[in-house]
Symmetry: C2
C-alpha cells in the first residue's frame, strides 16, 4: 500500500508567506466554479493559486512540499471523474493553470506547436489553423478544456481512430515534479530513446505525479477534402464490418466512425426538438463516418463508392452523404448533441467503457440482457466504435426520473463493469480514474500493475502531496 | 543515486537448483553468439536460460531475485548499444526469449495480433500478411530481431513517419516484474485510461524494469497500392520542403521519406558493386519516397503529380518513379544496403541522432564544419528525414582505416553529440542507451528526469537485478 504521510492544510499563514514571494495576480478569488464539476457529484474546497509562469508553479509546489500541503492541479474543470475536485481532507492549493495560455512556438515545417498547459484546446485548434495545420484532439468540452488537463487525463474524443489519444499527440513535456523541481522535457523530436518514458508516465497520471506546465504537440497536415455520411446498419456487427471495409478502401482517411442507436435520436427529439432529425424514420442503429482525404480524391465520391460496396455486401440499408458543409455540420450536430440530450433526460448510470472491438456486438447483447434483468430502463449506447469505446448509459423509462432509481444505481454500474471486465475491456476508456473510479480500479485493476503504480507514486511523490485521493487511495 | 545492493553470480549450485524446478530445454548451451553484439565492442558472459512460457520466466526471475543474481533479457541479439551484453560483474542469467515465439491470437476485425516476446519481427509480418494486414514496424535486422527486444528498446525503422515507433504499435503487454510476479496487461484496447502507463514505462526501458513476455500489437490495413520514387534535391532544406509538400498532397499516404547523400552511393560502389546504381551521375543529395495509398489513387500518378509540383517549385531537379515491383525493390535496396556498405568501409564514429526537423539543414552544415576542424574524414549522413532522425557517420579517407583514427574517435563523437544537444536534439534517436550511451545520458540528460528514472528503478527493482549497468549506472 501507499505510505501516506500526514498532510497539512493551506492555512492563511501559509498563503501569506507565499504572498511575499509571488506576484499578486497569482492569488485568485475562490469563486464557486473552482469547486464544482460537470456532473455535480462533489463539492470541492481549497485555496486557488494561478501562477503566471513555470517558475512560479515550482515555487508554489516547493512551498507545498515543505509544508506538506496538498496540491490539486486544475485545468478547465471539465473532467468527468472528479480528478480536479478535493471534496475532503486538509484544505489544498487548487493550482490553476488558467494564466499560462501562451503559444510558446509554432513550427509548421515540423508539424509542431509548443503551448503552455493552460491553453484552451479550441485556441490550439485556431493557432494550428492559422498556419494551415490541424491539431486533431477534439472533445465536446474543447471550448473550455485546457491542454494540461487533456494531457493529464489522456483525453480521447472523436478523432482517436485516425490520430490517437492525447498521449499520441504529445512529443514533449515541461512539468514541475512533486519536489518542486522543473523537468525540461519539451523536446520537438519524433524519435528519442534516451531513457524511461517519463512523458507517458505523467500523461494520464491525473496530476498525481507532477504538474504539466507546457507541452510540445504534434500537428498534422489538413486533409485536402473532407466528407461525412450517415449510414444505417442492421446492428453493431454490421457496423464493424463496415468499418473494416472503410479502412481497407480509405485507409487512414477514415477520421471518425461513430455508432449511434435510435435511443439517441429519441432523446434528441424529446429534449432538443430544434435539432434537425436526419432520418424520416428513425433507424435502430446507424453510424457517422467522417473522411479527410488526400489530393486527387473527392470525398463525396469516396463515400458513395463505400456505400455502394457496403450496400452490395448487405452491410448498410440506407444512408446519406453530406452535400455541403452545412449538412456535414448537421450530421455532426446529431452526434455532438447526444451527450446534452442524455444530460437532460438524466442518466441513472453512465459507463465510459472500451472493449476488444470484435466483442462489442456480444457485449451489447449481454449487457442489455443484464440490465433488463435488473428492471425496466432505457439504454442509450453510442460512441467511438472505431476505437472500441462505447458510452453505455442507462436511463429511466419515460415519466420516471433518476431519483426513482437510486437503489438500483450501484447494481447497474457493477453489472456493466463486471461484464466489461470479464470480456477484457476497460471500465474507464477515456475519462480516467479521478476520484469516481478509485474503487473500480482497485476491483478490476491488475494487482501487479497496482503495486507498481503505488511504488512509482511513493518514489516520485514520497510526501503524497500531489492530488491526494485521485487515482490511488490516499 | 541508485542504491546498488550487492549482486551475486549465477553459480553452478544456483543453476542446479533451477534444474530441479524447470524442464530440460530451458538450459541452453552458452554458444558464443549469446555473448557477441553486432558492432563487436563487447564480449559478454553468463548462463543462458531459455524458458518456454511465462510461468517459467517468472520462476527464473523469482529465483534470481531470491539469490540476487543479475538477469539480462535477451531477444534477437541485434541491439546496437550493448543492452543485451553483460561484459563484467557477477555472472548473470542471460534470459533468452527464443523459445517463446507463439502467435497467441490474431484478430483481423480488430487489427490486433497477440504474440510472445520471442517472435521474430519478420514472422509477425508474415502472420499479419496471411490475414491481409500489415504490421508496419520494419528495421534492417527484421529477420533475426525479436519483438520483445524491439519493444524493450522502442525500435524505430523506416515506417515511423506513418505508423510510429514500436511503442505506438503496442496496445498491451504481459511482463514479469523484477520480483517475479506476472503483470497481465495484455489488453486489446485502443483506449484504456485506468491508471499509470506502465506499458510505455516498460517499453524503452531496455530490460531494466522487467521482462516483456508477450504483447498485443496494432495491425493496419494494407495500402491498396504502393509506389516508390527517388528524387534529386539540392540539399536537406529542399528535402524538408518536399516532405511538407508530399504530406500536404498525400497525407498519411507517405509511408517513408529517407534522405541519402552521395557518400552512400560511393560507399555502395566501392564495397557492393553488384548493387544497381540508380543514377547515371551521382547526385549530392536525394530522397526515397514511399507511398501506400487508398482505393482510387494510382501510386505512380500520385508520385508524378508530386514530382511535377515539386519541380515547378524548384525543389527537385531530377527523379525516377518505380515502374514495377522489381524497380521498387531496387530503389529500396540502395537505402537498405547503405548500412552494410558503411560496415565494410568501417566507421570511426556513428551517431544515431534526432533533431527538431527544421534545424536539420543547419545541423548538417555545422556538424560538417566541426568535423572538418578535427581532420580529414568522409561523412555519410543519411536516414529517416521524415522523423528528424539522421545517421550521421564519420569514416576514414580512402586508403586509411578506422584504426588510424582511434585518437580522434571520442573527440568526434563528443563534438557531434554536443552540437545535437545544443540544438535540442537526441543523442539516441532509435537505438537506445544500452551500455554504450550511459555516459551520454548522464552528460546530456535532464537531471530531473534522471533522478526520476533512478527513483523509478529503485522502486520497481529494489535489488537492482534487472539488466544492471544498462541505461543507468549500476
Amino acid at each position: 500500500m501507499t505510505h501516506t504521510p500526514t498532510l497539512a492544510p493551506a492555512t492563511p499563514a501559509f498563503i501569506d508567506a507565499l504572498r511575499a514571494r509571488l506576484p499578486a495576480p497569482v492569488f485568485r478569488e475562490a469563486t464557486p466554479g473552482y469547486f464544482e464539476e460537470p456532473r455535480g457529484r462533489w463539492q470541492g474546497q481549497g485555496v486557488v493559486l494561478a501562477p503566471g509562469n513555470t517558475e512560479d508553479v515550482a515555487e508554489i509546489v516547493r512551498a507545498c512540499a515543505a509544508a506538506r500541503v496538498p496540491v490539486v492541479p486544475y485545468g478547465g474543470g471539465t473532467g468527468l471523474v472528479g480528478g480536479q475536485i478535493a471534496p475532503g481532507g486538509p484544505t489544498p492549493v487548487i493550482l490553476s493553470l488558467e494564466r499560462m495560455r501562451a503559444v510558446r512556438g509554432i513550427y509548421p515545417a515540423e508539424n509542431v506547436i509548443v503551448v503552455e498547459a493552460g491553453a484552451i484546446l479550441q485556441d490550439i485548434h485556431t493557432a494550428a489553423a492559422e498556419v494551415d495545420r490541424l491539431f486533431p484532439l477534439s472533445i465536446a468540452a474543447k471550448g473550455s478544456a485546457r491542454i494540461g488537463g487533456n494531457l493529464a487525463t489522456n483525453a480521447g474524443g472523436v478523432n482517436v481512430l485516425r490520430y490517437g489519444n492525447a498521449r499520441d499527440l504529445c512529443l514533449g513535456l515541461e512539468a514541475v515534479m512533486p519536489d518542486g523541481r522543473i523537468w525540461n522535457g519539451l523536446k520537438r523530436l519524433r524519435k528519442d530513446n534516451t531513457g524511461y518514458d517519463l512523458r507517458n508516465l505523467l500523461i494520464g497520471s491525473e496530476g498525481t505525479l507532477g504538474v504539466i506546465t507546457a507541452a510540445a504537440l504534434k500537428l498534422s497536415p489538413r486533409p485536402m477534402g473532407e466528407g461525412t455520411a450517415l449510414m444505417v446498419v442492421e446492428g453493431p456487427r454490421a457496423a464493424l464490418d463496415l468499418l473494416a471495409l472503410a479502412r481497407a478502401r480509405i485507409g487512414e482517411g477514415v477520421s471518425a466512425f461513430e455508432i449511434m442507436h435510435r435511443a439517441g435520436l429519441e432523446f434528441l427529439a424529446e429534449t432538443l426538438p430544434d435539432i434537425r432529425q436526419p432520418f424520416a424514420k428513425m433507424p435502430e442503429w446507424f453510424v457517422l463516418i467522417d473522411v479527410g482525404l488526400a489530393s486527387g480524391l473527392d470525398p463525396a465520391a469516396v463515400l458513395e463508392g463505400l456505400f455502394a460496396e457496403a450496400f452490395e455486401a448487405g452491410l448498410v440499408s440506407d444512408g446519406m452523404i453530406a452535400q455541403s458543409e452545412t449538412q456535414r455540420h448537421q450530421f455532426w450536430e446529431v452526434r455532438e448533441q447526444i451527450p446534452e440530450a442524455n444530460r437532460r433526460i438524466g442518466s441513472i448510470s453512465s459507463h465510459d467503457i472500451s472493449l476488444p472491438m470484435s466483442l462489442i456486438p456480444d457485449f451489447i447483447v449481454q449487457a442489455n440482457a443484464v440490465i433488463a434483468g435488473i428492471g425496466a430502463f432505457r439504454i442509450n449506447c453510442f460512441g467511438h466504435l472505431g476505437d472500441g469505446n462505447l458510452h453505455y448509459n442507462v436511463f429511466p423509462m419515460p415519466g420516471r426520473g433518476r431519483a426513482d432509481h437510486v437503489a438500483e444505481r450501484d447494481e447497474i454500474k457493477r453489472a456493466v463493469h463486471d461484464l466489461v471486465h470479464e470480456m477484457g475491456g476497460s471500465v474507464s476508456a477515456e475519462h480516467g480514474i479521478g476520484r469516481l473510479k478509485v474503487e473500480d480500479l482497485e476491483r478490476y485493476g491488475d494487482p501487479v500493475k497496482l503495486d507498481a503504480m503505488r511504488a512509482i507514486k511513493t518514489a516520485l511523490d514520497p510526501l503524497g502531496i500531489m492530488n491526494p485521493g485521485a487515482v490511488l487511495r490516499g
